[in-house]
């Protein structure tokens, strides 16, 4: 039986190892300076890169974070500090549902809500879709983290004559900032890797981004477009894009691990 458990654990490692090895093997040859600095070459010409998609992804995730991070944290604070209220129960249920909504459905929803009335794909619409994906991840992590803070800490703050709001923000939340940050990073990593919700919202293009109201390229969508194309050179670039994306997500996940282990121990200022 013990052997079986060991085998199961080893089997679980295999897909990740294979994916990594494969992407590394296929993508590394195409990663070049041009990849990070050039926009895609016109059809028929060789060379080119995915600089526009990199900037696009940064823009989309950055915009999404501006809304998703504060909203998610405030949601989590509300769920943890007002856990018993009816609104909190409804919010918690909604966030759970939101986590399980397929991301393409969120894309379609934003398409109907923003893209159609605004008569065009835009970074705004893409960011809105990504923010919706980030919200439940950040909200739930924040709630879990804050629930770990014992009530006698809150009471100590209240007993000093500090208002409940300041106790929550400056003592409870600030004291857990490292752990809350891990939730934020996980959400950012997830959003950076999403392609489905961007297909009908930010769409894509082959040029430098020209404004937040314009179709905006992103790494995952660009990979998709290149991977289904019939050109060998584009396939190469798609692999390179996949390698960059996986590396970014990997680094983000690794940094949450480090943050988690640091925030677990007592931190000096």
């Amino acid at each position: 039986m013990l052997t079986l458990i060991w085998v199961a654990a080893a089997v679980a490692l295999i897909p990740l190892a294979l994916v990594f090895a494969w992407i590394l093997g296929a993508g590394l040859p195409a990663v070049s300076w041009d990849f990070f600095t050039q926009i895609p070459a016109p059809l028929g010409q060789s060379g080119g890169g995915m600089a526009n998609a990199l900037i696009g992804t940064l823009t989309l995730v950055g915009l999404a974070s501006c809304v998703g991070v504060p909203l998610g944290i405030l949601c989590g604070v509300f769920l943890s500090e007002y856990a018993e209220s009816k609104l909190a129960r409804i919010t918690r249920f909604t966030l759970d549902l939101l986590t399980s909504v397929p991301s393409i459905v969120i894309g379609l929803f934003i398409y109907a809500l923003l893209v159609v009335p605004m008569r065009g794909f835009s970074a705004w619409a893409g960011a809105a879709a990504l923010a919706i994906i980030m919200l439940p991840i950040i909200g739930k992590t924040t709630e879990e983290v804050l629930k770990l803070v014992p009530d006698n800490i809150r009471e100590a703050g209240l007993a000093l004559g500090i208002s409940r709001w300041r106790v929550i923000m400056s003592i409870v939340l600030k004291g857990s900032s490292g752990a809350v940050a891990t939730g934020v990073i996980l959400a950012v990593a997830r959003a950076a890797g999403e392609s489905a919700p961007l297909l009908f919202t930010a769409f894509s293009n082959q040029f430098w981004p020209s404004g937040l109201g314009q179709p905006t390229p992103s790494l995952p969508v660009q990979i998709y477009v290149y991977a289904i194309s019939p050109y060998a050179e584009w396939h190469q670039l798609a692999w390179a894009g996949a390698l960059v994306l996986v590396s970014v997500v990997f680094v983000l996940n690794l940094s949450t691990r480090i943050l988690m282990s640091r925030s677990g121990v007592v931190r000096a200022r």
Binding site: V149, L160, G161, R166
Partner: protein, 271 residues
């Protein structure tokens, strides 16, 4: 040691009888978690610079009672308080009174030392001042030093004020919590079994500290430890099932209690 202290109390008895304007007056206080009151019709008064001990078996309402004095009881959803509590003449349950403001005048030290996590020793003591606002930055440093001295912790921490509060030992953490409370300059400090989580040496340091602090502050302490009550308090109240059975000078409670139930409890026949 305890002999001489008992003598002090005996001598202090006539002095205590002279009328002093009480700092705290509680009248007909009821406190509820459910329909059944946990504190039933309790009235008592506390004089300035006095140490009042509240004793009684677990779950008899002592802690609930003191949590009504700083209006912390009402922070638990579904709870209710009835009756009057006057602090230095102000009805703290008055219609225009902000509980947040009251709590700056009535400090509290909890059973388990609870320094704020991820705050330094300095920040822990300064937290009340900084998060309440209204204190100048340069004054904060002096108040922190003064509070740590009053809590008999300054000499142990003066070289590591930027170390985490949680890096201290349990007894030191509790004195840190006392310093944190002193920093906002309350008139009265409530202590909810402050030594029950501490070792005997840390306990005796806290007891010494209480006797020192009496010079400039008034203290109401809940304790399970009857020896502790007799060592440090001027007057003692005995709680049983939510009632304040007897309240009087400590020497009297422990030597000549008027109520049979008090007599049975202090002689260890129940509880």
């Amino acid at each position: 040691m305890s002999e001489t202290k008992t003598d002090d109390k005996a001598q202090a008895k006539p002095a205590a009888a002279t009328p002093v304007e009480p700092l705290l007056v509680v009248e007909n206080l009821f406190a509820y978690y459910t329909a059944e009151p946990s504190v039933k019709n309790v009235s008592l008064d506390v004089r300035p610079n006095e140490v009042v001990a509240l004793i009684g078996p677990s779950g008899c309402g002592k802690s609930t009672f003191i949590r009504c004095i700083n209006r912390l009881h009402e922070e638990i959803p579904g709870t209710k308080v009835q009756g009057r509590v006057r602090l230095a003449g102000t009805d703290i349950y008055g219609p225009d009174v902000d509980p947040v403001a009251i709590r700056a005048h009535v400090g509290m030290v909890f059973q388990k030392p609870n320094p704020f996590p991820s705050m330094t020793i300095f920040d822990n003591v300064a937290s009340g001042l900084l998060l309440r606002g209204g204190t100048k930055r340069r004054d904060v440093k002096d108040i922190v030093e003064d509070s740590l001295k009053k809590a008999a912790l300054w000499d142990e921490v003066k070289d590591k004020l930027s170390a985490p509060g949680l890096s201290l030992s349990g007894g030191q953490q509790q004195r840190l919590c006392i310093a944190r409370t002193l920093a906002v300059k309350p008139k009265l400090i409530l202590m909810d079994e402050p030594t029950s989580a501490l070792d005997p040496i840390s306990t005796s340091r806290i007891e010494e500290l209480i006797s020192e602090m009496k010079k400039f502050i008034t203290i109401m302490i809940v304790t399970h430890n009857m020896q502790q009550a007799s060592r440090i308090s001027d007057r003692t109240g005995f709680f049983l099932l939510g009632d304040l059975v007897e309240f009087g000078p400590t020497w009297q409670i422990f030597n000549k209690p008027k109520d049979d139930r008090t007599d049975q409890y202090i002689s260890g026949r129940f509880g």
